[in-house]
């Protein structure tokens, strides 16, 4: 476990990293998720540093193993380690990642203030991923994984996950 790191990813490693997906949100690659902080070759070993989304996220261990496997398939040995700061924020999810989330049925994170209003149930601002209506209600601040909250659409009655804003 190390501390601070600027993001630095060797462009030639990106295609391999893009093959690795979040095990709990399979439509999202770890690159779109923004958890890869550094990836470079050092004496023919790929050194990959990732940052946890949530401290206790069990997906991190799986992602580490999946990264090693993806590199192995490309005949490259890889080592994965965790970095803690800068702490991950939902701002690092790429536009492509946000789109993939929405299509998968998970509402993408709103801006911090709107997120607060939504999670306190003050304002109807989260858009239903099924019918697009904003007439949605918070069911629970915690959803199927640490990063999500549970909502329900009042128009089409579909329950759906909302990816909480983390800043």
């Amino acid at each position: 476990m190390t501390i601070t790191l600027e993001q630095h990813i060797d462009p030639q490693l990106i295609p391999i990293l893009e093959k690795v997906h979040d095990p709990e949100i399979p439509v999202l690659s770890i690159m779109d998720m923004g958890v890869v902080r550094s990836a470079k070759m050092l004496e023919s070993i790929a050194q990959v540093k990732i940052t946890p989304t949530y401290s206790g996220c069990p997906a991190m261990d799986v992602m580490g193993e999946d990264i090693i496997r993806a590199f192995k398939e490309a005949n490259i040995k890889a080592e994965v380690s965790l970095v803690l700061t800068p702490a991950w924020t939902t701002d690092w999810i790429t536009p492509r990642g946000r789109k993939a989330l929405e299509e998968y049925g998970i509402a993408a994170p709103l801006e911090e203030n709107a997120d607060k209003e939504a999670l306190l149930g003050n304002k109807k601002v989260v858009k239903c991923t099924n019918c697009g209506s904003h007439n949605t209600t918070l069911v629970s601040q915690f959803g199927s994984t640490a990063c999500k909250a549970l909502f329900q659409c009042e128009d089409c009655l579909e329950p759906f996950d909302y990816f909480k804003c983390l800043k």
């Binding site: 476990m1 401290s55 803690l84 991950w88 629970s140 601040q141 994984t145 983390l166």
Partner: protein, 251 residues
């Protein structure tokens, strides 16, 4: 300051997260509703994740091939430095929420300060953890208001929980010897200075929930010195069972 002071200081923070995380994990599958069950176990997951970060750091500081698991599972009761509040049992949902709320408000204030610690690793863990804890605080405050302002029965139950757990709040602000030694170096936090802000915040929420703030002159203490309540042994026997029965076992 010796490394041992820093390690003990970290136990004082991490054991709170570990024991409360363990308590909340007991609720897995037993929450009063699916949503609250998921919420409590999500909070448990955050707390246990934070514990892992702290214990990995302690393992690094201790050297001698110690692992995070040794620290979590192989200490004796008196070596755990969590406050008495977090080891109190899950009697009913209102009680669980009250315990959570009284801890969350403190936890948030502590992490806010710890972000500026001169120890870079502690500051990094705090920066990560505070984002999670702000959600915990929002969740428990929300429920305190809902229960306090709810039915006659929910009001009465949560008021009794507040009255009962209040005696454990003062301990949060006691400075241990390790607190003092680490604080002198800008690493540890002077928790005594958080007291006023804590009771102010707690009172605001309780008042909004139409609950009465207890007037208490006598407070219970001991957890920070490793002198725990009768509940602690049961928690540890559950927590340590696998490692004690099958030493060095791995998943």
């Amino acid at each position: 300051m010796k490394n041992e002071n820093l390690i003990q200081y970290i136990y004082g923070i991490a054991d709170n997260a570990l024991i409360l995380g363990q308590r909340l994990s007991e609720l897995c599958g037993h929450g009063p509703s699916l949503e609250t069950d998921i919420a409590m176990t999500n909070i448990a997951l955050d707390l246990l994740g934070q514990t892992r970060s702290y214990f990995q750091y302690v393992a690094q500081l201790s050297g001698d091939n110690k692992t995070e698991d040794d620290i979590a599972f192989l200490r004796t009761e008196r070596q755990y430095k969590n406050v008495l509040l977090v080891e109190q049992p899950n009697t009913h949902f209102g009680y669980v929420i009250t315990r959570q709320f009284l801890f969350d408000v403190f936890h948030f204030l502590l992490l806010q300060e710890l972000q500026n610690s001169k120890d870079e690793m502690l500051a990094a863990i705090a920066k990560k953890a505070i984002k999670e804890v702000s959600y915990h605080q929002r969740f428990s405050s929300d429920w305190i208001k809902r229960l306090g302002d709810g039915t006659e029965e929910s009001h009465q139950k949560v008021q009794e929980a507040v009255n009962d757990l209040w005696k454990y709040t003062d301990e949060l602000f006691h400075m241990t010897g390790d607190d003092v030694k680490t604080e002198e170096l800008g690493i540890g936090i002077n928790v005594a200075l958080l007291k006023e802000r804590y009771y102010q915040k707690v009172s605001e929420v309780l008042e909004e929930a139409s609950l009465t703030i207890p007037e208490m002159k006598w407070f219970q203490k001991g957890g920070k010195q490793g002198i725990h309540s009768e509940h602690m042994g049961y928690i540890l026997s559950d927590l340590q069972y696998m490692q004690r029965t099958y030493p060095n076992m791995k998943w």
